[in-house]
């Protein structure tokens, strides 16, 4: 009988620890599928964040490094600069990438560091039990915004793709979602593109995946996916924010490109 569906080769047999209905599993799969499709597992190094995905190092069968909270882009910079022929990706949550690690993110982007970043935006701190994230929505109730995120005292959510695409340097920035089949298929393409960019020596590629955290949102998995459509995507519109190949979202200076070692 023909096998029509199986686990990607670049995922290990380790059982995922994520909550039922958590999109982290889907996003892991998309990353692994891209690695398989491109045939790069043997030269790929993944960097796990501090957050729910901290144990990603057990799930991907390529070499893995666990970074300190928010430091993954700096660690990835070291890994990539050390062996430029390797393919280096980070997998980071919103607290990791957009709060404690914002400096590392922005500077890796502005160096057009030839790495691939998978940024999982679930608008909350999942691992620590549901605190406000830099991407928590206006009015969103979390453990540390029990009366709803107050824009006056707690600030506005950060739109990472929009912010980074104001920089001249980064090569490719796209926001996708994984809350329905159509979106998953688009996300799959985007993730693969982000890895291919690196192999082709093009530079910094970041894919923001609008995700969900049913557990800490206090919603069933199905309701959480609906909330993505109703609340998340309107605030975080999907689409390509920077694509130097297609001239999308480019600043005047950003069309100047430097070929990187891929």
């Amino acid at each position: 009988m023909a096998v029509v569906f199986q686990k990607p080769k670049s995922l290990t047999d380790k059982e995922l620890h994520y909550c039922p209905g958590c999109p982290h599993g889907i996003i892991h799969r998309l990353v692994a599928e891209a690695i398989d499709t491109l045939g790069i597992e043997g030269r790929t190094i993944g960097v796990a964040p501090v957050g729910c995905a901290v144990m990603a190092y057990d799930y991907f069968s390529c070499d893995m490094v666990e970074a300190a909270h928010g430091r993954a882009p700096a660690v990835a910079t070291g890994l990539k600069r050390s062996i430029p022929g390797n393919v280096v990706f980070t997998y980071q949550g919103d607290g990791d990438l957009a709060s404690i690690g914002m400096a590392e993110t922005v500077h890796a982007a502005t160096r057009n560091e030839n790495i691939t970043i998978i940024f999982v935006n679930n608008a909350i701190y999942g691992m620590t039990g549901g605190q406000m994230a830099p991407t928590s929505l206006p009015g969103q109730i979390t453990q540390t915004s029990p009366y709803g995120r107050n824009l006056e005292t707690q600030g506005y959510p950060i739109r990472v793709c929009e912010m980074l695409s104001a920089l001249d340097a980064p090569y490719y920035i796209e926001r996708v979602a994984v809350n329905n089949v159509k979106n998953v298929l688009k996300a799959k393409k985007a993730v693969e593109r982000a890895f291919r960019n690196q192999i082709e020596g093009k530079g910094f590629s970041l894919i923001e995946v609008v995700s969900a955290c049913p557990t800490n949102w206090g919603l069933t998995p199905r309701k959480a996916l609906e909330w993505v459509d109703e609340r998340m995507i309107p605030y975080y519109p999907l689409g390509v924010y920077r694509d130097k190949d297609a001239g999308i979202g480019c600043t005047p200076l950003s069309m100047q490109t430097f070929k990187k070692e891929g």
Binding site: I45, V54, D63, M64
Partner: protein, 358 residues
């Protein structure tokens, strides 16, 4: 043997690192170690395989170091006190992940922004951990430009040998001082690193660089194993200089610039017939406990000379184990104890020990 060249201490560190096969350097500007960063910025881009990167912060620099160290290559970062404070998180992660790397601290006065003059007030931070968790760094303290070069070389070798970060704990004087130096011969790591993340090439199971162990039993085990390595370092890697200790009745303990001033003070005191010697720790972790303990059997007292409010003195006291009085001779905030001060403090110690017999 290579010929002697006249160099600044900071540059000697950089050149020695290059000669030790360190082709990756990440830094962030801070006085008084800027020459080191500038030297690397000049040399590494012109060196085959060399990478120089000015990071966005010391936090990023140490994490870039973490990335390169994960691939098994020699890598260094340098800074001065406030910057080294920022690196502590990364240093703890390096220790927790058993990654070799070299960190240079050309110390300046603190706390806070402090000043830019030389200091030894990061001794506790360097020798007692600095970051969170149970760990040590191998800490080497140069006392000449020659040692800036030699101990940099050694730091790379020891870091690789024991799979641990190592620190060169210098001070602003050492960094800025110019002296003739015989540069170490070029060499590279002799240690195999099968744990490195270089890509599986589909030929082995994946390697993981990690410091997370959610099971306390397993985490405890990693700590115990690491401390076995530390025990070997304490047994085999203690380094110190013993100067005029054979007939000494009083012992000065000092490292770095303080040891140099102490030697001049000893010359002056010996002229007056006072039998004073010097123990100069070259490794402050591991601290030369046995040497101090042995000295305590025959000398009448110790003077700890430091550019701090008295930090190493605690290790001296632990090592001599309350056998003899230990007094502090110090300046702080970027000031350096002078010969006169050392002589005066040593004489006062003699008077109190010998009841004014002299």
């Amino acid at each position: 043997m290579s010929e002697k060249v006249l160099m600044k201490g900071n540059e000697a560190i950089a050149e020695a690192a290059l000669r030790a096969g360190c082709l990756h350097y990440f830094g962030y500007p801070i006085t008084p170690q800027t020459e080191l960063t500038a030297y690397m910025a000049k040399r590494l881009p012109k060196t085959e395989g060399g990478v120089f990167l000015q990071a966005e912060s010391e936090i990023s620099a140490i994490n870039m170091v973490y990335g390169v160290a994960s691939t098994g290559k020699r890598v260094m970062t340098s800074s001065s006190s406030p910057g080294v404070s920022l690196k502590q998180e990364g240093i703890s992660y390096l220790a927790g992940s058993d990654l070799p790397a070299v960190i240079v601290n050309v110390q300046r006065g603190g706390p806070g922004l402090g000043g830019i003059q030389p200091s030894q007030s990061d001794y506790f931070q360097a020798t007692k951990g600095g970051g969170h968790g149970d760990y040590h760094l191998i800490v080497l303290t140069p006392s000449s430009v020659q040692e800036m070069a030699d101990l940099t070389s050694l730091a790379f070798d020891l870091a690789d040998k024991y799979r641990t970060p190592a620190m060169l704990l210098a001070d602003g004087t050492m960094g800025q001082m110019m002296e003739p130096v015989e540069l170490p011969e070029p060499h590279t790591s002799a240690v195999d690193k099968p744990w490195a993340v270089t890509g599986t090439q589909m030929k082995r199971k994946h390697n993981i660089i990690n410091s997370l162990y959610l099971s306390p039993e397993v985490l405890e085990k990693t700590n115990f194993e690491r401390y076995e390595r530390y025990a070997a370092i304490e047994r085999d890697e203690v380094r110190y200089e013993s100067y005029m200790m054979d007939d000494a009745e009083y012992c000065i303990v000092a490292f770095g610039i303080a040891a140099r001033v102490a030697k001049n003070a000893i010359t002056a005191m010996r002229k007056e017939g006072m039998k004073v010697g010097l123990l100069r720790p070259i490794t402050v972790w591991p601290f030369p406990k046995d040497a101090v303990h042995e000295a305590a059997q025959k000398v009448k007292g110790f003077v700890s000379v430091e550019l701090s409010m008295g930090q190493m003195i605690e290790d001296v006291r632990l090592a001599e184990n309350c056998l003899r009085p230990v007094v502090l001779c110090n300046r702080a905030g970027g000031m350096i104890p002078g010969v006169d001060q050392i002589v005066e403090v040593t004489k006062a110690l003699m008077t109190s020990v010998e009841g004014g017999a002299r």
